[in-house]
Amino acid sequence: METWILLGATSAIARAFARRLAAEGATLFLAGRDEAELEAIAADCRLRGAAGAEVLAFDARDPAGYPALIGRLAAQEGVLNAASFVGSMPEQTAIDAEPRLIAGVIADSFTGPATFLQMLAPLLEARGTGTIVGIGSVAGDRGRLGNYVYGAAKAGFATYLSGLRNRCGRKGVHVLTVKPGPVDTSMTWGMKMPFMTSPEAVAADIARAVKHRRNVIYSAPIWRLVMAVIRLIPEPVFKKMSF
């Protein structure tokens, strides 16, 4: 029986992914801060076929609570899997006005989930199976004018996931890095962005990538090409571009 813990389970992509897992009969641990929301999502998952759905408190900025979560998961038999959907992206202008916001962005998008996964990894390794999914971002592939603090945090997380994959792969645990482009959620509501995709489409891409044990995917897939081109732009040119 598959068990999944979803960090940041109230996010639109996490909700879509949770529904897929529920339909497959998985046991779900929905972790996040907004307990009322999480309870609604848990009820939804139970009614859509989840073997169980339990709400856990998780705050990316407060690792003190992590050991208790790990303990709860350790009590669960069978294959354990984890997926992290947490992250935050304040307006760059807000960060310019209050640079100390950076600490929160880094904690939400990188150090919080990385700390949790670092504690969880030995448990999965001991069982010799399971998958860890980390949500990065195309914004992490190159720093740009509009969201480079968020991009830096996601780049850090992606590099962390790369190393974690290198480590855990030897013990039968697979690590998948997902780099979504713009997704139609409350985070991008009202923004004009190219190649916008839906949370359901990203969730479907993740499910497929988990099944085929892919290492790094872009969603929508077109972003692999777009970012390959953007990474090729020489820095002297790129520094003058604004998009």
Partner: protein, 431 residues
């Protein structure tokens, strides 16, 4: 950013609006918004979901199943959930929404606000008859509304004017499985069609009418009767999407005529019984996403009326006028309705309902105006979910409980924060 400027339309795409839209993903985010009318999948054809120059709340992300009691069959669900989703999730467990409209994309909130009916209206009544509780958001405060109150009767079929429908409890109906045994019979003309509908004892009954057939064939069509059952049929094929606005000839008279003949002819003269997945029977057009684009950029209208049983000859006259006009689209619907209605502004009345699509052209709009006059003369009623063209005084006179509705709506929303384009166009709250 909570609100974004957008252009949006009803399903018919003939009417549009520009205004600010919010699409909350959490209940807290919804409660934090200023009061505004809400919409779901915008499957109402006209302007019921539009608020030009103002604000509107898109509820489609608040779509969770919140609880189910197997002993009573009562499902607690958020308003943005789609009926087709509920059917898909619960039919394998032996339950279905008690009333399902012709599209599974309609949301629970929309079904309540229009008090929709389904192919079982003659037995089951309207959607609101199976709602045991509604959660309404009125200016930041959630209240629960129970059947038997004036507020319930003003909310069911109430076009969203009593507040934002956030969640509801629905009494599901037991079903035998997730397939439908469908018996299809040819009806050669109007009299046979009406007789088949009158005589049907099936749980689900609907008539597909060829609105292009004239003379002796006037009123011909296919009567479908369905019962749920258990069985194994192939899953529905993957949905297809209409990729772009079709050119104007796509639904021109010769094309429609040929299509309707083929549709009629595919059912053998002696009839047949098929087994279909529930979606194929209840939501036949949902397999083609964005099928409204078949009507091209200018959009289309649906005329739907219901007339009392005794006015069946008047309905036949209307159909004759439609058939000779050469303006009708494929697959019009004829159905016998029961008396069940749950709100002050509910559409159903005991009688026959006819629904026909028309491209949005001058000639069609003129024809629809004449059909509306005929409906009024026959003592019938037009449907707010479909209407985009009615004249206020005429349609208001079709709703005898309008003043009860106005009194209740005026009480709970004196500042008119939930008004929509439809309510203003037809002066539902002022006259």
């Amino acid at each position: 950013m909570d609100w974004k400027q957008a252009d949006y339309t009803g399903w018919g795409r003939a009417l549009s609006a520009r205004g600010e839209i919010a699409r909350p993903e959490r209940r807290m985010a919804l409660a934090g918004l200023d009061a505004a009318p809400a919409f779901g999948m915008r499957r109402s054809y006209g302007d019921a979901a539009l608020n030009a120059g103002g604000r509107a709340i898109d509820m489609t992300r608040l779509d969770r199943l919140l609880g189910f009691v197997p002993e009573t069959g009562v499902l607690s669900v958020e308003a943005g959930a789609r009926i087709g989703d509920l059917a898909q999730a619960f039919a394998p467990r032996g339950w279905l929404p008690a009333v399902m409209p012709g599209t599974g994309f309609a949301t629970v909130g929309g079904c309540i606000a229009q008090d929709v009916h389904g192919k079982n209206h003659h037995h089951a009544g309207s959607f609101g008859a199976h709602v045991s509780e509604i959660t309404l958001l009125q200016g930041g405060t959630e209240i629960t509304v129970e059947p038997g109150t004036a507020l319930f009767r003003a909310t069911v079929g109430g076009l969203g004017q009593t507040g934002v429908i956030v969640a509801a409890k629905l009494r599901l109906t037991a079903c035998k499985g997730d397939v439908v045994l469908v018996t299809e019979r040819r009806a050669r003309d109007w009299n046979e069609h009406v007789a088949l509908l009158d005589g049907s004892t099936a749980t689900y009954t609907v008539g597909w009418i060829d609105a292009t057939a004239t003379g002796k064939a006037l009123g011909r069509g296919i009567v479908e009767e369905g019962e749920t059952g258990a069985g194994l049929v192939r899953r529905r094929e993957k949905a297809r999407r209409v990729p772009m606005d079709a050119p104007n000839f796509a639904l021109s008279a010769p094309v429609v005529h040929l299509f309707n003949r083929a549709y009629y002819g595919r059912v053998p003269a002696r009839g047949r019984t098929l087994v279909k997945p529930i979606g194929d029977f209840f939501f036949p057009l949902d397999k083609i996403h964005d099928w409204n684009r078949l009507y091209g950029k200018r959009g289309f209208h649906q005329f739907q009326c219901v007339v009392p049983l005794a006015a069946a000859p008047a309905l036949r006259e209307m159909l004759a006028e439609i058939a000779t006009s050469g303006l009708a689209s494929p697959l019009a619907v004829l159905k016998r309705m029961g008396p069940g209605r749950a709100g002050f502004l509910s559409f159903p009345m005991e009688g026959y309902t006819l629904a026909v699509d028309f491209p949005n052209r001058e000639a069609a709009r003129t024809l629809i105006a004449r059909l509306e006059d005929r409906t009024a003369d026959a003592g019938g009623r037009l449907y707010f979910a479909k209407d985009a063209l009615a004249r206020g005084a005429q349609i208001r006179a079709m709703y005898p409980e309008l003043s009860d509705w106005q009194a209740e709506v005026g009480r709970v929303d004196p500042d008119r924060r939930y008004e929509t384009d439809l309510v203003r166009r037809l002066k539902l709250r002022s006259a």
